[in-house]
């Protein structure tokens, strides 16, 4: 019986500590984090057009495309396809994506199609693509925008993030925003 009282009171005080004091302390200090801890946003002319870390759907010919997404880039949810590596239906889907990508980029050889452009990401919200995936799209984007190819290539090169340790990535939203500003 004595134990029960202890357990009850201990639970209440730990609730105060972990559901009250701890999150509020993090919340208070996070007010000094980017965008007050509400997630970093990106704006154009004062209007929020996206979250820097959250990928967006790009399928227009004048934009760089991101990866296939199992949730169609609606960040109200998040998920991968969860398709197994030997699933026949899934492999047909990948084949179809390769074909579609080649139709949109007729100047490419099949062996130049980067695998991240034909496989769905883990979260469905992957903001990045690989450097190769960005570079193979340059010709299409330059053509659609009637821009000089070397200029677009230069822009892509400047947006490739190459850390000392880690992965080489290109943030698709940031790249497209910079592209819109390119004259």
């Amino acid at each position: 019986m004595k134990n029960l009282f202890i357990q009850f009171r201990l639970t209440i005080i730990l609730l105060v500590l972990f559901c009250g004091i701890y999150p509020l302390a993090v919340y208070a200090i996070a007010q000094f984090a980017p965008n007050h801890g509400k997630g970093e946003t990106v704006s154009v002319d004062g209007k929020v057009v996206g979250y820097r870390r959250i990928g967006q759907r790009f399928n227009a010919f004048n934009y760089f495309w991101g990866r296939p997404s199992a949730v169609d880039y609606n960040a109200a949810g998040s998920a991968g396809s969860n398709k197994g590596p030997s699933n026949v239906e899934y492999l047909q889907q990948v084949q179809k994506r390769i074909d579609t990508f080649l139709i949109a980029h007729p100047y490419l050889k099949k062996s130049q199609v980067p695998s991240d452009m034909v496989t769905a990401s883990g979260s469905g919200l992957d903001p990045d693509i690989s450097a190769e995936a960005a570079l193979v799209q340059v010709k299409r984007v330059a053509g659609a925008r009637k821009l000089d190819e070397s200029k677009v290539r230069q822009l892509v090169e400047s947006k490739i993030y190459r850390p000392v340790i880690g992965t080489v990535t290109v943030n698709v939203l940031e790249l497209n925003l910079a592209l819109d500003e390119l004259k």
Binding site: L10, A30, G37, S78, N82, P85, D126
Partner: protein, 570 residues
């Protein structure tokens, strides 16, 4: 690609480097020795003791300790169950998410009480912020329960002959205030400044650059993600867990989250060495675990970097198996994480395990089937302890001596308990899988248990489908929480069967080692002699590894052969 592999080494190396002093700190804390943090924490702890009426000097025997542990866990389960059941009409629900169904609330409450965090819902749509905070509370206290349980076993191994094994409540509180809270706070802040949200505002509606109208889920994620890893809980704030770009924004946070989840499982082993003043024993145990870990991680990294052979045939430029992975982490780091998260019982994922290669899936399953290479917060050592007892017993038989461990005779009763615990794990996994596979093989109409026919819960055909079911029960029994998430698991069949497995697989493997340790502690101490089997030698390490390998291989090989191995060779 090479820079990606070099990323793994600092993550693994720095975790070990940090774990040694941290283990020393844990040992000193629970030995009641002075630590540099005393001036800060003593007053807080004394206040908690005073308000709750705990007398930290009142020592318990192993049965009292166990009762206190089980009682308070039951209380937490009931509390959480009712919060989840009614969260829809409680405060802190800006997205107006609904209350959980009773079977889902049952599964979720158990799953977080037992430090597993199997999630049959998605955080964005399945929980209110109050529900998230409630689960965060359980992530703290379930991890503290694990640590406090291990500390009792440490204590029982230390003293010569005693039945006084410390105060459960005092150890629980100290685990919270000195270990979990300060480290979580630091990690949460690092994450918040790297871009993980910490807000109580609901979903944001935006119009994208291309003109789509989408919503973006947010919430108090930074605080949650910190303890999710530190306590080896693994339950994600968002549905995609640590693959979600807000939950794990970049390569650096990925490393931080890995460090955080490896810290306590590593440190507990070193803490044992400092606590017993037998550092060599700790190094032998750590060595055995590390060999096991490397044997699992290397094939996985190789097979993920090699990519999917079926896609290779299509003739494109494949840079690793990228299905279900994020570009910012890459194939090698995701492969490393998938084994780290399954050997220790975190179960958070930064890529979808369902889409990993057959050989990787095999290694992830094996990691959870063995369940004692490092292992979860506190309980990892308890699982390993069982195998030590068995190895001592078997070695004793082999050389014809009375089996002894740290000066205590191991007799029939202890060996029976150890054997029972060792068999329980395969029993739960295989009978669960057998039941589900039977339903799926006959494609039965499931009635109330599942809407439609049984194969409807599978996301993939053939042996991969079998692996999905095997993985779900293995993850439950290992209190891991990761999944082959294609499985349709939010229904009474999976919620209830895995809920029962979770419960049994958490508490029985804690009760067993506590009972053995308690029984041994009260026995007469036999001083070491020339005839004593030394347990802190490489030979004994090899012996323990062999016992683990034989038990795991014999019990699980048939199931693995039907699932991932069939897919690999198929």
């Amino acid at each position: 690609m090479n820079t990606e592999i070099t990323g793994i080494i600092p993550v693994f190396g720095l975790s070990i480097l940090a774990a040694i002093p941290f283990g020393r700190f844990i040992a000193r804390t629970f030995l009641g020795m002075k630590t540099f943090l005393d001036p800060v924490f003593k007053p807080i702890e004394n206040l908690i003791f005073k308000i709750s009426g705990i007398d930290p000097d009142c020592e318990m025997n192993w049965k009292q300790y166990l009762k206190a542990m089980l009682g308070v866990n039951l209380l937490w389960f009931v509390l959480c169950f009712f919060v989840l059941l009614t969260q829809g009409s409680l405060p802190l629900n800006p997205d107006a998410n609904p209350s959980m169904t009773p079977d889902l609330a049952f599964n979720t409450a158990i799953s977080f009480v037992v430090n597993c965090d199997l999630q049959h819902y998605s955080g964005e749509s399945g929980l209110s912020y109050l529900g998230q905070l409630m689960l965060m509370f359980l992530q703290f206290v379930s991890a503290a329960t694990g640590i406090a349980s291990a500390i009792m076993v440490f204590r029982a191994m230390k003293d010569k002959t005693t039945d006084k094994l410390g105060n459960f409540f005092s150890n629980l509180v100290k685990s919270c205030t000195r270990i979990l809270l300060p480290v979580s706070l630091i990690v949460a802040l690092v994450l918040a400044f790297q871009g993980t949200p910490m807000t109580f505002e609901g979903k944001d509606k935006i119009i994208t650059l291309q003109g789509d109208e989408v919503e973006v889920s947010r919430g108090p994620a930074a605080a949650f993600v910190a303890i999710k890893h530190l306590g080896t809980n693994g339950g994600g704030f968002f549905g995609a867990n640590s693959a979600h770009p807000l939950e794990n924004p970049n390569y650096f946070t990925n490393a931080v989250e890995l460090w955080t989840q490896l810290l306590i499982p590593f440190a507990m082993i070193f803490a044992l060495g400092f606590y017993l003043n037998r550092k060599k024993l700790a190094y032998v145990i750590f060595g055995v675990m590390t060999v096991g870990f490397l044997l699992l991680v290397i094939p996985t990294v190789v097979s993920e970097m090699g990519g999917n052979p079926a896609i290779e045939k299509m003739g494109i430029a494949q840079a690793g198996a990228m299905e279900g992975k994020e570009v910012r982490f890459g194939a090698p780091m995701t492969a490393f994480w998938s084994i780290a998260t399954t050997v220790i019982s975190t179960g958070s994922v930064n890529g979808m395990h369902d889409s990993t290669m057959a050989m990787s899936g095999n290694m992830q399953l094996l990691a959870m089937m063995v369940n004692c290479f490092y292992g979860g917060c506190g309980v990892g050592f308890l699982n390993f302890y069982i195998f030590i007892i068995l190895a001592v017993f078997i070695s004793g038989l082999m050389v014809g001596r009375t089996p002894e461990f740290l000066g205590k005779k191991i007799e029939a009763r202890e060996v029976k308990i150890a054997a029972f615990i060792a068999i329980l794990h395969p029993l739960l996994i295989l009978s669960g899988t057998a039941l589900a596979a039977y339903c799926a093989a006959g494609d039965y109409e499931m009635g109330w248990w599942f809407s439609g026919k049984a194969t409807g819960w599978l996301n993939n055909p053939g042996s991969h489908g079998f692996s999905e079911m095997l993985y779900e029960y293995t993850s439950s029994a290992a209190n891991n929480g990761s999944g082959f998430e294609g499985l349709g698991d939010n229904n009474p069949f999976w919620n209830i069967t895995t809920g029962v497995v979770l419960l049994l697989a958490r508490f029985i493997p804690i009760i067993g080692p506590m009972a053995i340790a308690g029984l041994l502690a009260s026995k007469k101490f036999i001083p070491e002699s020339a005839g004593t089997l030394k347990t802190d030698t490489t030979i004994f390490g090899v012996m323990t590894f062999a016992v683990i390998a034989i038990i795991a291989a014999l019990s699980f090989f048939p199931a693995l052969a039907l699932g991932p191995l069939a897919e690999y060779f198929g």
